[in-house]
Every structure is written in structure tokens, then in C-alpha cells.
């Protein structure tokens, strides 16, 4: 995808001097219309930021997937010595950490960034520069985390990194520190991102876009961002306590001083359980957008979809100790949390039933996006069922720390979240890039993923129930685990190739599109329902020419279809006819800025300082302060809140608010 932007003709612009003169706090100037790489490094456009999140996420998918295949190779046959125990520990830890924090979370952020402003009818997010910062600081943290491979070895405590194993006594290497500091830094990005996106949804909706007219994806992402907002600080505290313990001889998890290492488990899982929901909810949102479009029916039970999402958001806070059933928290707590966990299955089940009811009786169009969505509904449900079986605490005593758990979370995360994301990629690709992905390769992509996925993780249910412990580097031939492990390994390679084939698809589709002379897919290639399809593809830089005025749920759809006198739904217009032409004259967009990137770069510097030598923190802090001041002194004509309202007069006239 070439990014060609032509220099606008400068002649028409007022001279630079005239502009700076009027800048209220002016000290620094913002780059104007940069091209190429610089364009991406300084962009504050939510669409580009979304694309960068997506790209980073796909890169980390590859980066975290290769270690997974190594793990499977090691386990293919009994008593293999391909990986040492130490290497195995590091690899599974880094695999899990990368997949969760650097693949699934940013992919959710990618869709959120690209789509939220479009779906609520806004020009951009509330704070474009903070948005860019969120991305860069996430990337900085992610890369820093992974540099541990070259600077002393990866973390080896599992992605949940339990105390006291994570203490300096048991784990003197720097791996844990990288895990700790890298994720702290990435967490800053999640937090600022959450504040930004929530503000956008709450405050920047187009006229008439009331709560119960918001698309389900917007709703689910809103819940996700609230979960992030409240969950990230808890993880932050846990990590800071650990940091103080490891670097400054604190005693939070020091059993010698009477501390209770269970504190880590509590803090981690208070974060951790909301975390698993915030990983799956964006995918739920995507599926709830895709299924109605290709079932040619409105979503069944919209309010139930919304409220079950909110319910999940709340209940997700009351179940964390189901990860700790065998940690000795006592029967009273175990009972309470077991019951709570069973209850949380209810809103989740409501969602599945609603998707099924939407599919029921629809004129299904089984293209790739739809297939992946249906894939989520089936595979996630399998994972959900094994989840309910963990909720039975007495049964879980047998399941925990076996491959049964590994099977569970891969069904929900891979079969759930990742399938949903793939569905979203196929669905919104034409909106972002202006051409569709190839359907034939897409179908291969889907079916090979389904086969590979079930071959890999299906057998793990059996292995787990047979008693194969997770996180063991090998097993003995006499234990009876041989066959299914071999099957899982074969499956994993199929899955690996299948997962990557989307990149091949993008390449092939791009070439075909270019060869055909870059035909226009039109604003609404799928005959879809929400606002983002009412503008040209790829999305114009300014999103909407004028703020749309919303009068209905699925407003755009109702511009295309209306009931005739007999109550039959009839097409009255095509998407192309009712879409906005993409003329952004007079729209005021914020200029790009260097400071988000610069500010983000100061964090890993401080991070390395915390790990290796506090002296390194000094340049980091200096950079931090410079960037903060540079940021706030940037010319006010580009004030973040001065944006996305080129048409605020119309808005005030319409004056709806939901």
C-alpha cells in the first residue's frame, strides 16, 4: 500500500509569519502536511492510528506465534530435548504475554480507533494528539518488553507472573523486570486511550445519536474502554509493588517479612478477569455488526445486546478469584466466587442466543467476514462451555494447571477474539483501503483456520482431563499423552500457515485491484447499516462532510430501505446515492505533531534506567519534561478540543442530545 500524498499548493496559504503571530501560547510549530514516513510518525488522524495499531498487532501475532510453534515442536513427541526447561519457560511466558498485551488488546484498539469516531459520526477522537501518544507508548512498551530477548533473556513467570516466584530471590535475572516495566509502559497507552475513546463516545456523538441508537460495536468498545480505565491501574499498582520489591528492596511479596504473596494473585486477577472480557468484547461488537449485515436482518434484541454487554462489564469485577480456587482462599470465598462465575455466563449466553436469533430465518450471505463471525459464535461457545465447567470449583481443582485450561482460553481467545478480529478485518478492509479482500483465498483462510485451530486445541481438552499439566517442558512416553500431542502439533502448523494467509490475501487483492486500475468499491460495498458506510471508501481524511443527523437505530439503513404501505421493506436508494460525496471544504483538521512520539520515547528510556542504572533515567526524565512542555506549548490553533467541529453551528441548531 503506497502512501502517496501530494504537496498541496503552498501559494494559496497565508504566509507562515502571519500565522505564528497570532498564536496564543505559540512556541513550537507543528509539521504541516508531511509526506511518507514522517506523515505516519506525526499523524494524529484516528484512522491512520487505527491502521498502525492493526499493523503492529499483526506483526506481534507473527512474533508471538513463532514461539508457540516452537513450544508445539518440543511437545510433539515425548521426552524431546529441543528446548531446555529454562528456554521453555521463557518462551511460553513471552508467547502468552505478547499475544495478550500486544496482539489482542491492540487489535481491539485498532478497530476502536478506526471505527468509533465513524460510528458515532465524529470527525476524530476527542484528543487526537493523545491518541497518537497512546499508540506510540504502547508500541514503545511492547518493543521494550521484547528487547529482553537480547538483553538477558525473556521473563519466565508465566503471563500472570505469580509472586513470590517473580521476586528477586527466585528470579534474579532481568527478564521479569522487562516484563514488569514494559507492560507498565504499554499500560500508560491503554489508560490514555481509554480516557480518549470514552470521551469521544460520550461527548462527540452526532446530533441525534442517542444511547440506544449507537451501533453495538460502539457499545461494546465503550464497555471495553471502561474496563481498561478501571483495570489498568490495578495492574499498575501490582507491577509497581513488584518493581519496588525488586529494585528498592521492598517487602510487599517478601515472605520472610510476613507478607502474603497471595496479594499479587488478587491484584493481578482483579485486573486479569476484566482483562479477559475486555479482550473479547470488541470481537463481540464486531460480530454483532457483521451478522445483521449478512443475514439481511436487524440485530435481534438490540437492547438485550447492549445491556448484556454492560452487565458483563459490571459482573466482570466480581469473579476474579475463580482463578484462585486452589490457592487456599477458603471454602467461603470459593463458593461465593463459583456462584458469581456461573452467573456471568448468563449475559454471555444472552449474546450467543441473540446472534443465533439474528441468523435464524435470515437470507444468509456466507462470505468470509460472515464465516468468521459464525466461526466466533461456534468456537467461542465451546470455550465458554469449558469455562462454565471451571466455574464448578470442585471440578476445577482437577482442571486447573492442566491442558484443559489451555484449551479453554485458546477457544475463547483464538476462536473467540481472533476469529472476531479476522471477521472485522475482512468486513472493514474495503472501508479502510478501498478494495475488498479476495473471497476465494478468504474462504481458504477461514476453513483452514477452523481445521487447524480445532486440531491444535481440541485435543488439549482430552490431554488436560487425562492429567497433562500445562507449563511442563516435556512428558514421558508411558504417560499416554503421545497421540494427541502429535495431533496438536500438526494442527498448530496448519493453523500457523492459515493465520498468515490473510497477509497473502491482502497482497493478492491489492495487486488485482491495482491491475484493474484501482476501481472504486463505493461507499457501501456490503449494503451495510451503520454510519461509517455512509461516507466514501477509503474514508476521507475529514470523515464526514457534514455531521450526519441521526434519527434511528441503523439510520443509514433506513435511508436506503423503507417500508411501503403494505409494511414490506423496500429499497428506496442505493448506498451510493445517499452517501456523502466526500467534499471536506472548510473542514478544520488538527495539524500533525511530533510530540506524541517524542513523549512516548521518553518512557522506555526511563524504563531501561529502572532496570539497568538509574542514571539512564535522567535523560529519560529530561526528555519527558521537554516533551510535556513542547506538547502543551504547541500552537493553539491546533488545540485538540478545537477539532471536529467545523460544523458546530449546524450541531447547535439541531441540538439533539441523547
Amino acid at each position: 500500500m503506497a502512501i502517496i500524498e501530494q504537496e498541496p499548493s503552498i501559494a494559496a496559504l497565508p504566509s507562515g509569519a502571519a500565522r505564528t503571530a497570532a498564536k496564543p501560547l505559540g512556541a513550537f510549530s507543528r509539521p504541516r502536511n508531511p509526506v511518507g514516513l514522517k506523515n505516519w510518525l506525526t499523524t494524529v488522524d484516528h484512522k491512520k492510528i487505527g491502521i498502525m495499531y492493526g499493523t503492529a498487532s499483526l506483526f506481534f501475532l507473527l512474533w508471538g506465534g513463532i514461539p508457540a510453534l516452537l513450544l508445539r515442536l518440543q511437545l510433539a513427541r515425548p521426552n524431546q530435548g529441543l528446548l531446555s526447561g529454562a528456554a521453555y519457560n521463557q518462551i511460553f511466558t513471552m508467547h502468552g504475554t505478547v499475544m495478550i498485551f500486544l496482539v489482542v488488546m491492540p487489535m481491539g484498539a485498532a478497530f476502536a480507533n478506526y471505527l468509533l469516531p465513524l460510528q458515532v459520526g465524529a470527525r476524530d477522537v476527542a484528543f487526537p494528539r493523545i491518541n497518537a501518544f497512546s499508540f506510540w507508548v504502547f508500541l514503545a512498551g511492547g518493543i521494550m518488553l521484547n528487547t529482553s530477548w537480547f538483553l538477558g533473556g525473556g521473563a519466565n513467570g508465566g503471563w500472570f507472573n505469580y509472586a513470590p516466584n517473580n521476586g528477586i530471590t527466585y528470579n534474579p535475572g532481568v527478564g521479569i523486570d522487562f516484563w514488569n516495566v514494559g507492560l507498565l509502559i504499554a499500560g500508560i497507552g491503554s489508560l490514555t486511550g481509554a480516557v480518549n475513546l470514552i470521551t469521544t463516545v460520550l461527548n462527540m456523538r452526532a446530533p441525534g445519536m442517542s444511547w440506544m441508537r449507537m451501533p453495538i460495536f460502539t457499545w461494546m468498545t465503550l464497555v471495553t474502554q471502561f474496563l481498561l480505565l478501571f483495570a489498568i491501574p490495578v495492574l499498575t499498582v501490582a507491577q509497581l509493588l513488584l518493581l519496588f520489591d525488586r529494585r528498592f528492596d521492598g517487602n510487599f511479596f517478601n515472605v520472610d517479612q510476613g507478607s502474603d504473596p497471595l496479594l499479587w494473585q488478587h491484584l493481578f486477577w482483579i485486573f486479569g478477569h476484566p482483562e479477559v472480557y475486555l479482550m473479547i468484547l470488541p470481537a463481540f461488537g464486531i460480530v454483532s455488526e457483521v451478522i445483521p449485515v449478512f443475514a439481511r436482518k436487524p440485530i435481534f434484541g438490540y437492547p438485550f445486546m447492549v445491556f448484556s454487554g454492560i452487565a458483563i462489564g459490571f459482573m466482570g469485577w466480581g469473579v476474579w478469584a475463580h482463578h484462585m480456587f486452589v490457592s487456599g482462599i477458603g471454602p467461603l470465598s470459593v463458593t461465593a466466587f463459583a456462584v458469581a462465575t456461573m452467573f456471568i455466563a448468563v449475559p454471555t449466553g444472552v449474546k450467543v442466543l441473540n446472534w443465533l436469533a439474528t441468523l435464524w430465518g435470515g437470507k444468509l450471505i456466507l462470505n468470509t467476514a460472515m464465516l468468521f463471525s459464525i466461526g466466533l459464535v461456534t468456537q467461542f461457545t465451546l470455550g465458554g462451555l469449558s469455562g462454565v465447567s471451571h466455574a464448578v470449583a470442585s471440578a476445577d481443582t482437577q482442571q486447573t494447571d492442566t491442558y484443559y485450561i489451555v484449551a479453554h482460553f485458546h477457544y475463547v481467545l483464538f476462536g473467540g477474539a481472533l476469529f472476531g478480529f479476522y471477521s472485522g478485518l475482512y468486513f472493514w478492509f474495503p472501508k479502510a483501503f478501498g478494495y475488498k479482500l479476495n473471497e476465494k483465498i478468504g474462504k481458504w483462510n477461514f476453513w483452514s483456520m477452523v481445521v487447524g485451530f480445532n486440531l491444535t486445541f481440541g485435543p488439549m481438552h482430552i490431554l488436560g482431563l487425562q492429567g497433562m499439566p500445562r507449563r511442563m517442558q516435556t512428558y514421558d512416553a508411558s504417560q499416554g499423552f503421545n497421540t494427541w500431542n502429535m495431533v496438536a502439533t500438526i494442527g498448530s502448523f496448519i493453523l500457523g500457515v492459515a493465520t498468515l494467509s490473510i497477509l497473502y490475501n491482502a497482497l493478492v487483492s491489492y495487486r488485482a485491484w491495482r491491475r484493474a486500475g484501482r476501481p472504486d468499491v463505493g461507499p457501501d460495498p456490503w449494503d451495510a447499516r451503520s454510519l461509517e458506510w455512509s461516507i466514501q471508501s477509503p474514508t476521507p481524511e475529514h470523515n464526514f462532510d457534514v455531521s450526519p443527523t441521526v434519527t434511528d437505530l441503523d439510520d443509514f439503513w433506513h435511508h436506503k430501505y423503507q417500508e411501503d404501505d403494505n409494511g414490506v421493506l423496500r429499497r428506496i436508494a442505493t448506498g451510493k446515492e445517499v452517501a456523502q460525496p466526500g467534499n471536506g471544504e472548510g473542514v478544520h483538521l488538527p495539524a500533525p505533531s511530533y510530540w506524541p512520539l517524542v513523549l512516548a520515547l521518553s518512557f522506555p528510556l526511563i524504563g531501561y534506567g529502572l532496570i539497568f542504572s538509574l542514571w539512564l533515567c535522567i535523560p529519560g526524565v529530561v526528555l519527558l519534561i521537554t516533551a510535556l512542555y513542547g506538547w502543551s506549548l504547541e500552537p493553539a490553533d491546533d488545540l485538540d478540543d478545537d477539532h471536529g467541529h467545523g460544523d458546530h453551528h449546524e450541531r447547535e441548531l439541531v441540538g439533539a442530545n441523547g
Binding site: F230, H266, G318, G330, S333, A656, N657
Partner: protein, 117 residues
């Protein structure tokens, strides 16, 4: 932020935050609030010196703490006035629920340590 912009008051369907300051407390209210806070703090400190034990000591202290919390939030942070301009009170409600949730979560953690039966 101006209280003088005329257009801000015209359209009551589109609440602009420009009008929120009109309802902000007066200087007197701020001073009175402060006095109340100081008195509460003084009572708290004195209470902690009383020869009390257990519930009789702790509960009143906690109550006074919560009251102080609410006063600072309500008056100094304009919760009381700012959120009136939002549709209904749902926003304040949502925040209340969020804080309650946080408190409940942490109390539960504490409880699981206490009752390992």
C-alpha cells in the same frame, strides 16, 4: 469560559458547558465549606484521642471521612452543580456505582484474607 456569550443560553436543547459556571457556588459557600471541613477534621482528631475501642472508635471516624470526601467532591469539585447539566443524574449515578464497585472489590479482597475458612 465566558458567561457572557449570549448564544449559550438560547438553546436549551443543546446544553453548552458555558452556562455551568453560572451555578457554581459562591465565595461564601466555599469558605463555609472549608470551615465545615476543618471542624470535621478537628472532631476526627479529638475522637481518635477518646478512650474508645473497636466499632465505637472506627465507625464514626469512617463516617466523618466519607462526609469530608463527599463535601470536597460536591462543593470544591463542583460535582453537585456540574452534573446537574447532564441528562438526568445518570452520570453522577454511574460514577457513584463505579466508586462503590471499587470499594466493594477491595473490601472483598480484604475479606478473603480475613476469612480463610
Amino acid at each position: 469560559m465566558s458567561t457572557t456569550t449570549p448564544q449559550a443560553v438560547v438553546d436549551d436543547h443543546a446544553p453548552s458547558h458555558a452556562d455551568d459556571h453560572e451555578h457554581h457556588p459562591t465565595v461564601i459557600t466555599y469558605w463555609l465549606t472549608f470551615v465545615a471541613l476543618v471542624i470535621l477534621t478537628a472532631v476526627e482528631v479529638l475522637w481518635s484521642y477518646l478512650p474508645l475501642d473497636g466499632v465505637a472508635l472506627v465507625v464514626p471516624l469512617l463516617v466523618m471521612m466519607v462526609v469530608k470526601f463527599a463535601i470536597v467532591g460536591g462543593v470544591f469539585m463542583h460535582l453537585q452543580t456540574d452534573f446537574k447539566i447532564l441528562n438526568g443524574y445518570w452520570f453522577t449515578l454511574a460514577f457513584g456505582i463505579a466508586i462503590a464497585l471499587a470499594v466493594a472489590v477491595y473490601i472483598t479482597v480484604y475479606a478473603t484474607f480475613k476469612f480463610q475458612i
